[in-house]
């Protein structure tokens, strides 16, 4: 029993030391408040997801190319039928009516290329023999348009005989460069930059701990400015990231060549800035995202002195990354909203958001400005990190401000 008590007492001694060593560190505060970050970012993420869903819903339309009179009748029928849908997500997309031109078939096909709405199904031709074109996932919308055509015919001939109505439904590929494809490419860009950085940027967090543990930091700090040490650490790990991305990029490119042509076509990138510029911008934003997140994590990690503290940083770091993704996605879903502007301006989400914008907006100058803005923040993070490190770890401060010197006498 005595032995057991002794063992327990010794275990408590070690537990107490570990507890104190863990809790009484600044890093623990980050760990402790990680759920607050999680909550904030979840809220942003929720807004993002809702925005994605809303934007898809907002922009989706079913289109009827009809003369005025039947168009009004169809709109009335649509209003009646919609009451049958209790849940908004079950309801078909909003109905748009358009006056037929000389070539309604061409007009219908063109509806799928519009930027101001995303056509899921388009009806044209005589109402008793309507033609319905529909895009991917537009089958139900096409059925609904055919039903509306029948209701319109019935409503226009009250008491009369109703001809047999046969709608010809044809699935059509969404043309390249449509708004939908661009948004898909934007989401791909945001996710791509995010995924590439998810594991790679967080690798930087523990690199300064190595120097602190084996005391090399003193040699480095005496020989080169700390800013160079920080930048060197960041670039070294970026080299590792590029090697990783290059390796897996080459493999995925090879695998891509084996995909069936239809699938490859569906997955093809459609970017507003053009494919070569999009690829260049994607790589640039991957680099910027790495440098920004990496420098931020490097700065935070440099304050940690033990592997335990480094480990505790993993949670807040993951949450921050998820938060940046959510913010960028929210911005991509609503390109003209305040959240898009916020995502593009906030330094840590800016590369993700701007990668998405490269897919949806053709102008290039915002990217030049964004990259300059992001580089400025990399510089700020590194400079700030070096200062914090010098002050906190090397215990060096600049000369005291004059008012403190005066007060000290």
């Amino acid at each position: 029993m005595n032995n057991a008590l002794r063992t327990f007492r010794q275990a408590l001694t070690i537990a107490r030391r570990d507890f104190v060593a863990t809790v009484f560190t600044p890093v623990f505060l980050l760990f402790l408040f990680a759920p607050v970050l999680l909550g904030s970012f979840s809220a942003i993420g929720g807004m993002g997801a809702a925005s994605v869903a809303d934007s898809r819903g907002d922009k989706s339309r079913i289109v009827a190319i009809l003369p005025d009179a039947p168009a009004r009748t169809m709109a009335a029928a649509d209003a009646r039928l919609r009451t049958a849908f209790r849940r908004s997500d079950e309801a078909p997309p909003v109905l748009l009516t358009r006056q037929p031109g000389r070539d309604p078939a061409a007009q219908a096909r063109a509806a799928f290329t519009r930027d101001d709405f995303e056509a899921t199904a388009v009806l044209y031709g005589p109402l008793d023999r309507p033609q319905v074109l529909y895009g991917p996932r537009g089958g139900r919308a096409a059925d609904y348009l055919a039903l509306l055509a029948a209701e319109t015919v019935v409503a226009e001939r009250p008491g009369g005989s109703v001809p047999r109505i046969t709608a010809v439904k044809t699935q059509t590929e969404r043309p390249r460069g449509s708004a939908g494809n661009r948004r898909q490419s934007a989401s791909f860009a945001v996710f791509g930059v995010f995924l590439l950085n998810l594991f790679l940027a967080s690798q930087v967090v523990g690199t300064m701990a190595e120097e602190r543990n084996n005391k090399v930091i003193e040699v480095l700090a005496a020989a080169v400015p700390l800013e160079s040490v920080f930048l060197g650490k960041l670039l070294g790990m970026f080299g590792v990231a590029v090697l990783f991305v290059g390796f897996w990029g080459a493999i995925i490119a090879r695998l891509g060549a084996l995909l069936p042509p239809e699938l490859a076509s569906a997955l093809a990138i459609q970017a507003a800035v053009g494919l070569p510029a999009f690829v260049a911008l994607f790589l640039a934003y991957f680099t910027m995202a790495y440098l920004l997140l990496g420098s931020a994590f490097l700065v935070v990690g440099a304050q940690a002195s033990t592997p335990r503290e480094i480990q505790m940083l993993a949670l807040p770091i993951s949450i921050v990354q998820m938060g940046m993704l959510a913010l960028a996605l929210a911005g991509t879903a609503r390109p003209d909203s305040w959240i898009a502007t916020a995502a593009q301006l906030f330094p840590l989400s800016s590369p993700f958001a701007m990668a998405g914008q490269a897919a949806t907006t053709p102008s290039l100058w915002p990217h030049v400005a964004a990259i300059a803005w992001q580089l400025l923040w990399v510089t700020i993070f590194i400079t700030l990190g070096a200062r914090l490190f010098r002050r906190g770890v090397l215990q060096s401060g600049g000369p005291r401000p004059f008012w403190k010197r005066a007060r000290a006498g």
Binding site: N214, V216, I217, E218, V219, A222, A223, R390, S396, P399
Partner: protein, 306 residues
């Protein structure tokens, strides 16, 4: 500030919290000299050196290194061995030395070639391609020392370079310090082991409690204490104490006392005249150790020391 100074510091102050770790230190290290910064543990030696090198910024005062008020501007011409030794454990010894040279602007190829030469000369030729983690602590320390001289610096700053080395390696280090001075470099090192300072230093400063307590040559330091006389009479007698100076104390069969300011000759004549004879006589100059203990002890006694 004179051009013939490699390091110059004027009223350096560094506080950690409210404690003045370096408290108004002045230093003037001549070019080409071996200069020791001596002091007890916690005297502020390391902080002084780190402040001089720009690793930490002073709160007050100014300093210059090789003529530059910003030590960074001279960093390629400076070699530094920190008190807390640090090397990358998985690096090979040769690469570690070349890496340290590269940090100071030496190209890697030259660095690697010089590293092999330096290791060979230091008797570490067999360990050129060994990883640091495979070396003994002393060997790793020597490797780091070689890393601090591989770029042939004009100023070599060594913080407690002798600690952790066995006597053989301590001797090698002394030889290396002298060789660096002969090459034309200035060597500034801190230590609390007086024997090394006594053997190699051209000038030294003794600091305690963050303040400079002494500055001068080794001889000048020793001169702060009078020489001591050890006298052995041929005829022991109780009355001898009345003839000897007041501070004389028995020491075995003889006596020990400070060398009188007027010299020893008059006392010897008296001793012979009174028949005590001279069985043995030696005049001992105080060592640096004694001077250090007195200087630091005085500082402690006045409540100034760390």
């Amino acid at each position: 500030m004179a051009d013939d100074l490699a390091v110059f510091a004027e009223h350096l102050v560094k506080r950690f919290g409210e404690r003045r770790v370096v408290d108004g230190i002045d230093l003037a290290v001549p070019r080409g000299a071996i200069y020791g910064v001596l002091g007890p543990n916690g005297a502020g030696k390391t902080t002084t050196l780190r402040t001089l090198l720009g690793i930490i910024e002073p709160d007050e005062g100014r300093r210059s290194v090789l003529g530059h008020f910003s030590p960074r501007e001279a960093s390629d011409r400076v070699g530094y061995l920190p008190e807390e030794r640090g090397l990358y454990p998985s690096m090979k010894a040769r690469d570690a030395i070349a890496f340290m040279g590269a940090l100071r602007g030496l190209d890697r190829r030259t660095g690697r070639a010089r590293a092999a030469e330096l290791m060979e000369a230091a008797g570490l030729g067999h360990a050129v391609d060994e990883k640091i983690k495979k070396l003994s602590k002393g060997m790793a320390q020597l490797v780091q020392l070689l890393g601090s001289v591989v770029h042939r610096p004009d100023l070599l700053v060594l913080d407690e370079p002798f600690s952790g080395l066995d006597p053989v390696n301590q001797e090698k280090l002394e030889a290396l310090i002298l060789a660096e001075r002969d090459r034309g470099a200035t060597v500034l090192f801190s230590t609390h082991i007086m024997a090394h300072a006594e053997r190699v230093c051209d000038r030294l400063a003794i600091i305690a409690g963050g303040k400079r307590r002494f500055e001068g040559t080794v001889d000048e330091a020793r001169g702060t204490l009078p020489s001591r006389v050890r006298y052995l009479p041929t005829r022991p007698d109780a009355g001898l104490a009345d003839v000897l100076p007041h501070d004389a104390v028995p020491d075995g069969a003889g006596w020990r006392f400070q060398l009188p300011a007027e010299g020893i000759e008059g006392l010897l004549v008296t001793l012979i005249d009174r028949g005590y004879g001279i069985g043995g006589l030696s005049i001992e100059r105080p060592g640096l150790h004694d001077a250090f203990v007195r200087i630091v002890g005085t500082a402690a006694a006045t409540g100034d020391a760390a």
